[in-house]
């Protein structure tokens, strides 16, 4: 009896394991194949992919079915001898040329229709200026509001006007089933219409160097009211310069993707404990780390490259992108890191 109980327990346990595995394979809110459907493109891509997959599966089952059957039926065995003669059958040859061709033409046609919808940008869109640089995204909204998150309004088409400051990047939002490369030297445009509020992942999907896998951002889809509230808040910078500097550092300007505040070397030097000291230069000698040094390094990064960061070429110039009071705020923030 006890043994039976144990066996039953084991069985239940293993069933649970299988259940958990299935749960892990297919997240509950999403389908087995896809993440959430959060844009108008998503239903089209999903059903079309599933249609192609089922057609493919039918062919696959047919091919593997025949293969396994032939392996069994015509296997080499005592007393059996198959024909050595080469066979040929024109009807079959024509059949398996024409049928796949028809299916391929249909897939091409459907794919092209869907593609043209994705490429045809509606007339009245909410425009976002996207800047990709190693290794952060920045999103520009009206009135000079800049943020490192992409904020959108549900059920309103949005157009991304994208440029890269250095190498190839690619903006990819899986929940929107949308992707477009950002090629330096020209503007790339893409659009999508979110259909569901929430927060989604945005990835860089074109290899861009060291921190490629870290070059992500969040997409926040708001209701109209939420968006307006957010936008109003963003237009008024914090009055405290340290707070303002922190906002610029962490969110708006994306300094944090290259400069840490805990002493770690990411790409550029850390801000921790540097204020007020002397820094060694790549060309030799030292300079005091003061207001003028920070200002010059932000506007013309190559002017006084630090030892260990000889090229400083990874740092783009912020000439024209930072206002004077923003530079002052960043300086105030760096000072505050010293006192902590």
């Amino acid at each position: 009896m006890r043994q039976l109980f144990l066996n039953l327990n084991e069985l239940v346990f293993s069933l649970r394991t299988v259940e958990i595995m299935f749960f892990l394979i297919a997240d509950q809110n999403k389908t087995f194949w896809f993440p959430e459907q959060a844009s108008t493109f998503a239903p089209e891509v999903d059903w079309f992919f599933l249609a192609v997959t089922y057609i493919s599966l039918a062919f696959f089952v047919l091919i593997v079915g025949f293969m396994v059957y032939f392996m069994y039926a015509y296997r080499e065995r005592p007393g059996y001898r198959g024909s050595p003669e080469a066979l040929h059958n024109n009807a079959l040859e024509i059949g398996w040329t024409v049928v796949p061709t028809i299916i391929a033409v249909w897939i091409f046609y459907r794919g092209t229709i869907g593609f043209l919808d994705m490429m045809t940008i509606p007339a009245d869109t909410r425009d976002v200026q996207v800047v990709a640089k190693k290794w952060a995204w920045s999103f520009g909204y009206p009135n000079g509001v800049i943020d490192n998150e992409l904020h959108l309004v549900v059920n309103e088409p949005a157009k991304m006007i994208m440029r890269s400051d250095d190498v190839l990047h690619s903006l990819f939002v899986p929940a929107f089933r949308a992707k477009c490369d950002v090629v330096p030297g020209r503007y790339a445009t893409m659009w999508f219409e979110p259909t569901k509020t929430g927060t989604y992942d945005l990835f860089c999907s074109e290899y861009c160097g060291d921190q490629h896998s870290k070059m992500g951002a969040k997409v926040v889809v708001h209701t109209k009211e939420e968006y307006d509230a957010w936008f109003t808040k963003m237009q008024i910078p914090p009055s405290d310069p340290v707070e303002y500097g922190k906002l610029l550092y962490a969110k708006t300007m994306g300094c944090a993707s290259c400069h840490s505040i805990d002493g770690a070397k990411i790409v550029g030097p850390s801000f921790k404990g540097t204020w007020g000291g002397e820094v060694a230069l790549a060309v030799g000698g030292t300079v005091p780390f003061d207001e003028n040094y920070v200002r010059e390094s932000v506007l013309n990064p190559q002017a006084k490259a630090r030892a260990g960061y000889e090229k400083a070429s990874l740092m783009p110039s912020y000439q024209g992108r930072l206002k004077e009071e923003q530079i002052s705020a960043l300086i105030a923030y760096m000072k505050s890191l010293k006192s902590e």
Binding site: L24, I25, K30, W33, P35, F41, E44, F49, V52, T53, S56, F59, F60, I63, V64, M67, M71, Y74, E76, Y80, R81, G82, P84, A86, L87, H88, W96, T97, P100, A104, I107, F108, R110, G111, T112, G114, F115, M119, D166, V167, L168, S170, F172, A178, C180, D181, V183, P184, G185, D201, F203, S205, E206, Y207, G209, D210, H212, S213, K214, G216
Partner: protein, 554 residues
Amino acid sequence: MSAVISKPLVAPVESAKEPGNFLTHTSGFLSWALTLDHKRIGLMYLVGVMSSFLLGGVLALVVRAHLFYADGAFLTLKQYNQIFTLHGAVMVFLFIIPSVPAALGNFLLPIMLGAKDVAFPRLNLSSFYLWVGGAIFFLVAMLTTGLDTGWTFYTPYSLETTGPVVLATMGVFILGFSSIFTGLNFIVTINTMRPPGMTWFRMPLLLWAIYSTSIIQVLATPVLGITMLLLMAERFLGIGIFDPKLNGDPVTYQHFFWFYSHPAVYIMILPAMGIISELMSVHSHKGIFGYRMIAYSSVAIALFGFLVWGHHMFTSGMANVTTIVFSALTFTVSIPSAIKVFNWLFTMYKGTVSLTTPMLYALSFMFLFTIGGLTGLPLGALSIDRHFHDTYFVVAHFHYVMMGGTLVAFLGGIFHWWPKMVGKMYNELGGQISAGIVFVGFNLTFLPQFVLGTRGMPRRYATYVPEFEFLHQLSTYGAFLLGIGLFVALGVLINSLFRGKKAPTNPWGGATLEWVCSSPPPHDNFSKPPVVGDPYDFRGLEYDAREGGYVRRK
């Protein structure tokens, strides 16, 4: 008196009956290093490409082990980028491209033609040394300075990264010449050295495949050479063709690069298809179904393959019309591949199917290549590709084609021709077990990657969001299983060198000319020109237990 004479006469006759083969013909290091014998060159290539494969495979396992955890297991981001670059570059340039044509092709092509050697034996040796030189140059360049551009060298990243892009591209340039020389040599050999009676449509299908491949090698590889030179010129002279800072266009580089590298995909897969044509018919002991369709489809793939490079750039911002045209052309290339699969399948119909090691690899190929081919359909469809481009779906797709296709066919080919190459039979059960482990391990590695792709996991990521961890772990387990399978295969082959039975002339019952030669073949292949018949005429080929192989009865 007669007894006295007859005794010493017997021994020399016996030893003369044991003819020297190409392995024992001469000996010493220089007899190999300076050989003009296509078979020895083929074997040296085989050692070279398999060493490259071992290196590329170990790197793949490092990549998979690192990706076991979402935050990465043990590499820094930069190290990961260098290792996946090295993995891709080694596998593509040093393993897959030369694998079948240079290693098996060199060994088999002249024998299948009933010839003594290729048309230009010295060019053949020089292309081997170009390959060795290029490979060493390339590896030293990559290892000493940590190239991290990915195997594609995309601009402008490759123009500004500190890695030794110029040295690596120089290596690719040299390897390209090796590839061109081999292609040229094979084209001339097939055109001029076929024996009387071997018309185009009496050629073994492997030769059709190698011929098509050679045409691509000769026509497409120079474009890679030009691209690499332009890349060097851009880096040194700043001519302003690819670099946007100098008014160049990075997308131009992509066009140049893929104009070679997409046809190169067919350089990789076509010879593998040729192998499968041989394996399916020989191990079904039955003539190939639809010979002409398979032959024509090889040529069709070679031609269409030149016109589809744009599908690597569907999201890079080409004009809509260009994108749509490339999509249409991409679908055309799927048809000849489908035709091949159906014809191989029906070759088994009413045959006598022996489930030998090579056949198991060939059947694995059928399974895996079908998945690889079918998953190309959604990628060719423009709307779906917006989501799938540069995700793991693409990674899984091309590994199914390149690895499940080319590598598995190559292994099948090695097991098929191994007795011919070294004159030893391997342990059949061991070989079958390796095929089974490779099959299971491969699917466990790459099936989860399709799902990772549809869920939006971008490729070339050293770390990833936690919800992808489970599927990544499945994939890592699979990769290690696959590694075990490959080591079993290697062990079976090496074991056969020491403990294998002597191979008969025709262990599988093949009807092409290499199975007329002894195993291993003599130095000059055929002492008298062979009689050329139908390469797929299996009538009268019967197993002879005394011989341990097949003999043809009239």
